[in-house]
Symmetry: D3
Subunit: 131 residues, 6 copies
């Protein structure tokens, strides 16, 4: 059960509904996922988080799919199950295939392995990487 | 200082040299970065890690640049300074611009933030994400 | 299911019961939460952990509420669901309101975000902070 | 060395200077710490991060000192050296004494210990904590 | 539910079956645990991961039991529930008693505590440890 | 520089000296490593941490060497450089050879890799592991 429960659209205040409406309009969907319904207990954080996410995940120097792949990579590394589920769905919507997902996971696994190898051997950064 | 020191090419055994040679040939460079020189204390791990990395980081369903971006994302999340430095360099070599790096970092920061929000609110996975 | 199961009061050895009794007396409750019942498989660790916790969480330069808030912040960052649940309850008992919880979570989310930004940009510590 | 270097006030664009000015005015200081000078390579992230931080760290249901203590707790758990240094300084400015810092650290250490104990024993959340 | 579902032996391709057969032969069991059935969606990663694991977990300078204990320690620190369950089982098979498990968990808890204390106090590495 | 500086023996209070003396007597050394000199700013935590460590790291169902190897494994996973250095030294003193260290690091790397694979594929715990 969510720490403070979930706030459904019909029970939401006008300011929360405004965010919900913008989420659905932006994503072209007719439902709100639980993350936002939990955050709605704190309307200020709800708005700020949504505005930030919208700004950051927009097509830019990196496309939407690449950004979602990066989001999944971080979520896996943090063992955040909700985020793995929601951003895997987001990545699929942005075009991720099963083959891409499999390669993404392989890279994340390898990165976590070599991150600990580098730490264990206390490897110093090469001069070439500092240039 | 690295835990066990670094093994230079001139001091390396034939089996270690063989891996070094393959790294330089594959990457079309004439030097070996410290990570491999540290790992060379364990030739079996050196070979397995290099073979795995070569297999995983090859162009596939995801291109090389995307894979390097994912690698940086994991390394930042794990606060692995060596890996941030080496894979930022790797990503640049694969075509990452400063604008891409800035967006990558913004996504990683946002993902780390919402990962903790989702955990704090103990958000349950939506049925829609389980389909 | 807990790794080694839970040890209930009626099945506990005298030394485990002594710790259980002290927990209930100190907390002015009539039940023991699962954490201690799991730890009871190792009576030495049970006692040491309880004694340490009692000593650390006492009112001191920081009050009980502040200490519980800090405990929740760490538990969220580690994605430890049991600890989030138990210390959120502990914080409420010490006076945490819903508004405080919401602000706590917002700070934890922000800290996790800027922690990764600082790592990604490899920011060096300012001289002013070393004074 | 910071990944992309630091942008000093004299070299900053008008939009970056505007953020720097607001940081100094809000904090009543005459200098900018390195975190912001690194972030300035991405003026959009610089502005959003500063605006978010200003909003979140304001006196609210929790006072400024408590918020800084929470920030340090997260930074320690993530082993983010820059953040430990900068937010320890921030906490001192908000009134943290050496005795408070020592107790904060003790709580953070204990929380990290019991977080892993709870995970290792796979402790299930008590019904009482779900109420 | 696993991200991509589980692939049972009867539904597996010949190359996946070959890995399954080797896992059962090596472990002298007649079943495959879910980890491999999930990984089977990516036969290349399945094979590489199994070959690596087989090579690494072999009796060597460290015996099988010690290696499984180390595996559990990492899994607890990462709060990976699946890995705690599977490698606790693996460690038991290699000879771990309840008393050993209890001591392992106590060491892991202590290490996580002192890791954060060392970070919080920003302790510098002693010259004696660099020799 | 350590957050609060280091307290040398000659400047220490009698209660801190008592702990220092016990550390040197227990370890049969004539020096104190920086970790304890930093902790000495909080004599209560200094004593409790030392007493806990002494109790936990004693020869028991697991021998001293195995416990130190586990300590290194956790420290690597947490990217705690001080702890990697100090417990690698501790493990060597307890008998760890270079070959053991190399195998330890390989296991830690592999565990970090498969921990993220298990998370990414959201693998469910097998019934067999719950027995």
């Amino acid at each position: 059960m969510a720490t403070l429960g979930l706030i459904e659209y019909k029970d939401a205040s006008p300011e929360v509904r405004a965010v919900y409406d913008d989420i659905m309009a932006t994503r072209k969907t007719d439902w709100i996922n639980n993350f936002w319904k939990a955050l709605a207990h704190d309307p200020v954080t709800l708005r700020r988080t949504w505005e930030s996410l919208k700004e950051i995940m927009t097509e830019g120097a990196l496309d939407r799919l690449t950004k979602e792949l990066i989001y999944v990579a971080v979520s896996v590394t943090n063992q955040c199950n909700y985020c793995i589920a929601s951003h895997t769905a987001g990545a699929r919507k942005a075009g991720m295939t099963d083959a891409m997902l499999a390669e993404l996971i392989a890279v994340v696994g390898m990165a976590n392995e070599t991150n600990s190898l580098a730490g264990a051997y206390q490897v110093e950064v090469d001069q070439q990487f500092k240039a």
